[in-house]
């Protein structure tokens, strides 16, 4: 299967591990990814908070590249996913916005390129049966709280990802890998990641309530698909300890890293060494499932 893969800025910086593991999993499953040539920033958070039309135009210039490729756009970063979807939605439903964006780009864009999250194509295109057949290892009963956060699921009429209040796509992948996708209440709560640099006091509170709930629900690790959630929940645990004296040691692992480990890909190639809270104990559950 062929797709245009949009890495996003974080793939080169704070979410190198997400990028590496996504590419490795795609390769192992025979998914063909081509990057749009000279792609640029999707117009994420800071752009939409400062200048809405700029944010739409920055997304659209990349969507237009993918339109020329004649493929669906696949994204692994939840933030890019959300921005691309919002741009498509506004451009296709609001003629005035379409006009502004077309003037900025010097070319008309209709908002029609399909944008899909990597997790979506696994469930919807590859299918769980084919995915299971490709697995060489199992999660060995590892209990995982999958955390979707804000950007993948909201606003629902724009994102259209799974069920906005109780998404299960990642859980289905985890169960298929022989793990236990936990049913827990904070799957779509906001971790405050976007306030990291401005109101770290609040982020500590929001993050702790999520991590504590995962722990109380029996999680041995959390699975995420958003770079902002990952880095925030991962590095925030130190601050929670300093502020509240509670230590959680909850590994925050990308779903693509969990998948990669069950496809027999090495921990280094998946960027597991970049995680701040060590995933070692959780990854010890992973065992070979190939019968000899």
């Amino acid at each position: 299967m062929k797709y245009a893969y949009f890495p996003g800025c974080s793939a080169e910086s704070t979410a190198r591990d997400l990028y590496l593991s996504t590419m490795a999993v795609a390769r192992a499953l025979g998914i063909e990814f081509t990057e749009p040539e000279a792609w640029s920033c999707c117009g994420t958070t800071m752009a939409h908070q400062v200048d809405h039309d700029l944010s739409l135009s920055l997304a659209a210039v990349n969507l237009l590249k993918v339109k020329d490729m004649g493929l669906d756009m696949v994204v692994s970063c939840a933030s890019c996913y959300s921005r691309m979807k919002i741009a498509n939605h506004e451009i296709s439903t609001n003629p005035k916005k379409r006009e502004i964006v077309s003037a900025a780009l010097g070319r008309d864009y209709d908002g029609a390129v399909k944008v899909r999250h990597f997790v979506e194509i696994l469930i919807e295109d590859i299918g769980l049966d084919a995915f299971k057949k490709a697995l060489t290892h199992s999660l060995g009963g590892l209990k995982v709280a999958s955390y979707y956060g804000c950007l993948m699921v909201r606003p629902p009429e724009v994102a259209g990802f799974d069920d906005p209040e109780n998404p299960v796509y990642m859980d289905r992948l985890i169960n298929a890998m022989g793990g236990v996708g936990l049913d827990w209440p904070h799957k779509v709560e906001c971790c405050g990641g976007s306030l990291t640099l401005t109101r770290s006091d609040l982020v500590v509170k929001l993050s702790e309530s999520i991590i504590a709930m995962a722990k109380d629900s029996g999680a041995e690790c959390m699975a995420v698909a958003c770079p902002m959630c990952q880095i925030n929940l991962d590095m925030r645990q130190d601050d929670i300890f300093k502020a509240a004296g509670r230590r959680y040691d909850m590994p925050i692992i990308y779903i693509s890293q969990l998948m990669g480990s069950c496809l027999g890909i090495s921990e280094d190639a998946l960027g597991l060494n970049k995680l701040i809270v060590s995933p070692k104990e959780a990854m010890n559950h992973v065992r070979s499932s190939v019968r000899s």
Partner: protein, 185 residues
């Protein structure tokens, strides 16, 4: 808690400007407060999303931009997702922030501006570059940057600025939008 508002001298308040910027008509709000109940930050701030809407409806003026929640809102869109009237409060917050960017509160606008600057220059975000400038520009809140050494050690952030983007195109977008804006004002 009683809601106090000052009517703007012109009488209209900023509700029309919010509508012009976001396309959202907050008059449809029923004050059911589902937005506020789901909002992750309203419990920690002195104002709430439904209160902002009520004040807009009652004709509040520029002083509304001093409300803490506008600058603390995390854009999580829980409010919009649960609103029975489908009012996109997250975008109303964006519009208010854009409106208030001239007199910023907190450091969100500065960080946003710095990150945007890196996009204009490189075509992609250069987070480390923006963080260093940010540290130079603020004294308060900068404490979170004590994370930088750990992030660097883990190789969790790129040292060098990004390359490979279609920089010319990105610059053209910035410039074209500026031109359109000048024409319309």
């Amino acid at each position: 808690m009683p809601i106090k508002i000052k009517r703007e001298a012109a009488g209209q308040g900023i509700i029309d400007q919010v509508k012009a910027l976001s396309g959202i008509d907050v008059n449809a709000c029923l004050q059911c407060k589902k937005c506020t109940n789901g909002c992750p930050v309203s419990g920690f701030t002195s104002s709430s999303p439904s209160e902002i809407i009520k004040k807009l409806q009652l004709g509040a003026g520029e002083e509304l931009l001093d409300s803490e929640i506008i600058w603390v809102c995390s854009s999580c869109a829980t409010c919009f997702s649960r609103c029975p009237m489908e009012i996109n409060m997250a975008e109303v917050m964006d519009a208010l922030r854009a409106r208030g960017a001239a007199k910023p509160q907190g450091n969100m606008p500065l960080m946003n501006k710095l990150l945007l600057g890196t996009i204009k220059t490189f075509g992609r975000t250069y987070d480390l570059g923006a963080m260093v400038l940010y540290k130079a520009g603020t004294a308060s809140y900068a404490k979170d940057l004590d994370k930088l050494p750990m992030i660097l050690k883990k190789g969790k952030i790129a040292l060098l600025p990004p390359h490979g983007a279609d920089k010319k195109m990105v610059k053209r977008i910035f410039n074209n939008l500026e031109k359109t804006r000048k024409k319309s004002t």
